[in-house]
Amino acid sequence: MSYFSCFPQVWVLDANTRKHLCYLDKVEPYSTVGDIKSLFHKSYPHWYPARQALKLDPKGKVLRDDEILQNLPVGTVATMYFKDLGPQLGWTTVFLAEYIGPLLTYLLFYFRVPYTYSHSYVLTSSPHPAVTRACVCHSFHYMKRLMETIFVHRFSHGTMPLRKIVRNCAYYWGFSAWLAYYINHPLYTPPSYGELQVNCAIVVFVICELGNFSIHLTLNDLRGDGARCKSYPVPTRNPFTWLFLFVSCPNYTYEVGAWVSFSVMTQSLPVVFYTILGFVQMSIWAKGKHKAYGREFKDYPRLRMSIIPLIL
């Protein structure tokens, strides 16, 4: 075999039209799919690597960035099919966009800026202490999320397509506006059991927020610098992490707890709907994560459920 035939060549075709888009010759055999994407990007500057999906078969699975060309089932001439995933945004940008909305829209209703309620109530404030406390809790919740996005979370490669982000933002922003409308309404009815109900709910809320934060820190430490975790999360000295004894995703458990306590605090049906929807979505995510842990770690504790101890 001559020296030159050791270097694979790569053809990149469009997955839909089969048009020849790019020819790369003398590609290093140990280069990854990610390297090929970078090379492709040079020929087509507007298709940055995060936007590219490369496959070996037009209808097949998308190749991961870390796959090595040498290990793929191709000969000396590799044919890859390209699909444009559309504009992408990094995870940090995504979360910032999603969380800034609820924070601000709620405050718009709390301060009753013009056009939120009828003209006679413009820039008034509610006489009920429950309303002010609810505002503090809600704002704290989203400020905490924003801080975590900036300082705590370490996101994997990932990006998200623009369309999905628009849909997610509509969900977050829309729901928080709907909740805020009722809680800060001039005709708001405070909780039936008064101060007792509100204060108990606040205590539970704070516990859940602290718990959620502790779990995020723990998961963060676990990740270290690598993308893949070496072991599954376990309880630490922090009592909030002891929930790991019972569930795989205690961060979601605490999150649901926070929203349940917020529902009790405000005694508002729209908040209950939002809590239920959030619970359903987080249960789906938790179940997925739980299954993934079980598959990856053979000695995964059997007592653990995905989101609700002993139940789900």
Partner: protein, 231 residues
Amino acid sequence: VSASSTSSSKTGSRAKLNIYCKIDRKCARWLVIAVGLVRAYIARGSYHGLYYSIEKPLKFFQTGALLEILHCAVGIVPSSVVLTGFQVMSRVFLTWAVTHSVREVQSEDSVLLFVTAWTVTEIIRYSFYTFSLLNHLPFLIKWARYTFFFVLYPMGVTGELLTIYASLPFIQKTGLYSVTLPNKYNFSFDYYTFLILVMLSYIPIFPQLYFHMIRQRKKVLGHIEDYSKVE
């Protein structure tokens, strides 16, 4: 033929027989409604107020159609869960939440319009499923299923929209199914606005369903046309 394949084909055909009976019954029910309509028309000599003659069977069968979503989900019936679910939900909504709830609307001609459209559609559709399961599908039924919708869909949608529109003034006057502030659970719901939103939702949704059926038609009947060209 191995033992395992015969046992699996036995359970497969048992399930098929079960579904065949269910679909056959559904077909018969819609025929009941159709016959009821025709008889009442002959008896009264006009088509006004025919709703009352088929009110009970319509409610019963339409609500029973909720089972059909389950059949789609399990995969026994070859239809998409989302599309069927959507269609059944909208029909149950029209039957109970609009026509039944607002008495004044029941004598409207628009009610007859959508009931007729639904009846004809369902008879053809269930015959189609029945014959498909028996693996003996007459071309006429297949053709009818994928052609009649050109008229029946718009007819049904017009009837539905006109009925909802007719119910609006009564709902606004009586505040039906509406909740206002203040109340203990800090929630409000305006059924009038909700119905207007439902009517508006027909604008994006109806074309999608209509073009979906047109595409299905090309796929199913298109082969026949090619065949005849070859010959």
